[in-house]
Amino acid sequence: MGLIAVIYAAIGALWILFSDRAVFYLVHDPQTQVIFNTAKGWVYVGVTALLLHLFIRRSTAGLRRLDEEIKATFESLFDGVLVLDADGAVVEANQAAVQLAGVAQKEELLQSASAFAQRFQLSRPDGTQVSLQDLLKVQVAPGKSGGRQVSLRRADGGLRWIDVASAPLAGGDVNAPKLSLVVMRDVSEQKRFEEMRDDFLSVAAHEFKTPLAVIKAYAQLLEKRGAGPAPILQVINRQVDRLTRMVQQLLQVSRLRLGDAGLRREPFDLEEMVQGVVGRMRRMVDRHRLVVELGPAVPVEADRERLEQVLVNLIDNAVRFSPEGGDIEAAVAQDGAEAVVSVRDHGVGIPSERQAHVFEPFYRAHAGTSRDYGGLAVGLDISREIVARHGGRIWFESAPGRGSTFFFALPLSQGARRVH
């Protein structure tokens, strides 16, 4: 545009400077000169008008095409998109949004924020109502899908789960934009799949563990009644325990791999949890002595069952990788704002060149050596994932031939942090 104006101005200036002079040299009769000058003026006006006309026609066609392209893109999106004004009222919606809400036409969606929330009963997973304006607080981060899940009641009464994200549109500042976009992705199918998965995993747990329970209990009954050789029955018992732990790990890894992020946090004393787990595991080991170093209560707010899994995995490893037996020491300590749990063994340790990989799933630090002690090699991967989801960390120190100590640290619960 700017360039065109400059060229136009330059040509205009040259015309003004040289056209009069050209007429003066070409035509000598003053009368005719006047006629030529008038005609020249008209030609100038005519040509400029024509150019202006062509130019305007071309640029509006361009704008119209751009507008159509944007509209086509907007309408062809799979995600429902609402455009909201500064008051949160819906001023525009695409076809996907219309389909998602199950209404007949777009106009039914163009309502005030509160009317929209009421009609479509937007609510959070815990059932509380949520408004469109609340949804605006969920900003879209590049490369991150999904902000918050809400449910939406369709016009036909069906319930849909949607992942909501929003972004401010140009105009006004970022905090109070004139227009905002709300993008709604239908995740109902995914949600249904998650429920099916949970059902499947709980059926699988039941189906695998019931026969294990029967075998274990009968072996113990025979031993109790003195009806069979105790050492043999104890082997059955131990192997059932081993199989049970593997089934548990498989279920855990499926849950984590399939993205079950839900932690069920509750306040409890970590010290007491460690004692409980060690107490239960004592009966499963015969050549090792499990020792708990007692200390003061360590309050945390965490998913107790998941953390018990972590500790079981660490103790299980400690037992397996110290085949000569010996002490396995579990301890809980407070370190600043953290609770640190450690499990120490005096076993084979981890070869230094393999230490970097021990938290990888399916990695066996002792593969191909005489010290491959079996197991699924997923315990540490699961443990790291669980600890990470608590905002904690997991690490180890190991000396080949002298044993390993595994640690995990969690934030202390709020109340405890204030005291210390």
């Binding site: 563990k209 294990l212 329970a213 274990k216 325990d241 069952e305």
Partner: protein, 123 residues
């Protein structure tokens, strides 16, 4: 072994496990009643209020949750419930239905006996 004659009700759908529990508890001197689902368990309870109920959660027909709700509604806390489950979150399951204790499958027989005797001792 003193067991003060009160009955232990085993609610479990796996026949082998029911048979086992019966043997173990009988060996230990308890009187045992069994039921393979919630409906049958309610019938047993109606015949005689047991001293403790060992309750499997996942059963065909009326499951453990439904039985627990029904039992609490009709009889309150007349008998303690001990949840016996293969689910990963046995402790939470027990809390959900307000059970007095829980055992995770596979269990140790010693734990079953300990749970039964401690619940009977409380009553």
């Amino acid at each position: 072994m003193s067991t003060d004659g009160r009955q232990v009700l085993v609610v479990e759908d796996d026949r082998d496990l029911v048979a086992l529990m019966e043997m173990v508890l009988t060996d230990a001197g308890y009187r045992v009643a069994t039921a393979c689902d919630g409906v049958e368990a309610l019938a047993r309870v109606a015949e005689e209020m047991p001293g403790v109920i060992l309750l499997d959660m996942r059963m065909p027909g009326m499951n453990g949750w439904e039985f627990a709700r029904e039992f609490r509604e009709r009889y309150g806390r007349k008998a303690p419930l001990v949840v016996v489950t293969a689910a990963e979150n046995a402790r939470r399951r027990a809390e959900e239905i307000g059970a007095e204790a829980w055992l995770e499958k596979p269990f140790d027989l010693e734990d079953v006996l300990a749970a039964v005797s401690s619940q009977l001792a409380k009553g």
